[in-house]
């Protein structure tokens, strides 16, 4: 699994599309901005990309759910050769922590989930102004 993180509007999606040549390579693209998160049984492709993780977490800010979600995909990837999962998350954790409980919880769970993904993924990149910095 590969975790791609970075601030908003830094070109994360574009970088993933170019890096994995997704205009040519078959894949399933699942966006947190427009749809629900798919489970392993629901896709028929070897490459799956999740973008907008923070948007899903905002709708369901529960660590336990996302922990088992990441684990399910981790196991799916290991289940057969050639499978690959890419996670794209917008960093929302480096600003002022808001007073509203919901907003705080969202940032808290998102930060926790990103740490979890950074642990489980073999590769982590941070995108800044379109440039990737490999962190793991």
């Amino acid at each position: 699994m590969h975790f791609v993180v970075g601030g908003a509007f830094q070109g994360k999606r574009k970088w993933v599309v170019e890096h994995y040549r997704l205009t040519e390579v078959a894949h399933v693209w699942c966006s947190g901005y427009t749809q629900a998160a798919v489970l392993p049984g629901e896709v028929h492709a070897n490459m799956v990309v999740f973008e907008g993780l923070e948007a899903w977490i905002r709708r369901l800010p529960e660590r336990a759910y996302w922990e088992s979600f990441f684990q399910a995909w981790y196991e799916w990837e290991r289940g057969a050769d050639g499978r690959y999962v890419i996670w794209i998350g917008c960093d929302i954790t480096q600003g002022i922590v808001p007073l509203e409980k919901e907003e705080r919880q969202w940032r808290d769970v998102t930060g926790w989930c990103y740490q979890q993904l950074a642990k489980q993924c073999t590769r982590v990149d941070r995108i800044w102004c379109g440039l990737a910095e490999r962190m793991k």
Binding site: G6, G7, A8, F9, Q10, G11, C90, D91, I92, T93, Q94, G95, I96, E103, R107, W128, C129, G130, L131, E133
Partner: protein
């Protein structure tokens, strides 16, 4: 040549940018400081004065242009040996976007951002180097009011385009420059 320098508030961006500008200048260069801040309150005025005094103590001659918008109007005044410091892109974009109604419309904002990019490219074509200072404000969550959203989206787009065109890109943290692309001039 374009050098892009970004960082948080009070990270020491301007200081690093000024050092780089001096190292790029040759004995025949004039250094032009393009200030885009719209000076509207006392705090901003104090900040401007502090920056001006810091520059006055330096051995090279600085020419200051207060230009919150329409930076392209200055293009004719620069010579090929001159070095320009534009401080900062964040203010410039905000001034262009919010000066008049229209920012509710994304296409309008895109047009303003494209015009800024074209001006930056022209500046780099007429002068020896242009050093552009901007801000890091993309990692604290996206604000959903239309004005802020369009501003962040356009600034992020501009950052990507400028870094692509730049020969160097640097992030400053606590006064320490971290080179992301090209050389650091240190």
């Amino acid at each position: 040549m374009i050098v892009f320098i970004s960082g948080g508030v009070r990270s020491g961006k301007s200081g690093v940018a000024e050092r780089i500008v001096r190292s790029l200048a040759s004995p025949t260069s004039t250094i032009h400081y393009i200030a885009t801040a719209n000076v509207t309150d006392d705090e901003m005025r104090e900040r401007v004065i502090r920056h001006q005094q810091a520059r006055r103590l330096q051995p090279v001659e600085w020419v200051t242009w207060e230009q919150p918008r329409h930076v392209h109007e200055l293009i004719g005044t620069f010579r090929t040996e001159d070095v320009l410091l534009l401080d900062c892109l964040t203010n410039w974009l905000a001034n262009e976007l919010f000066h008049a109604p229209g920012w509710e419309n994304e296409a309008y904002c895109r047009q303003k951002a494209e015009h800024i990019l074209a001006t930056i490219n022209q500046l780099s074509a007429v002068a020896k180097a242009v050093v552009i200072v901007s801000n890091e404000l993309f990692s604290g969550g996206v604000l959903h009011d239309t004005g802020t959203y369009h501003f962040m989206k356009m600034l992020g787009w501009l950052h990507q385009q400028v870094v692509r065109a730049a020969s160097s890109a640097i992030v400053v943290q606590h006064g320490i420059p971290i080179v992301k692309k090209g050389e650091g001039f240190m």
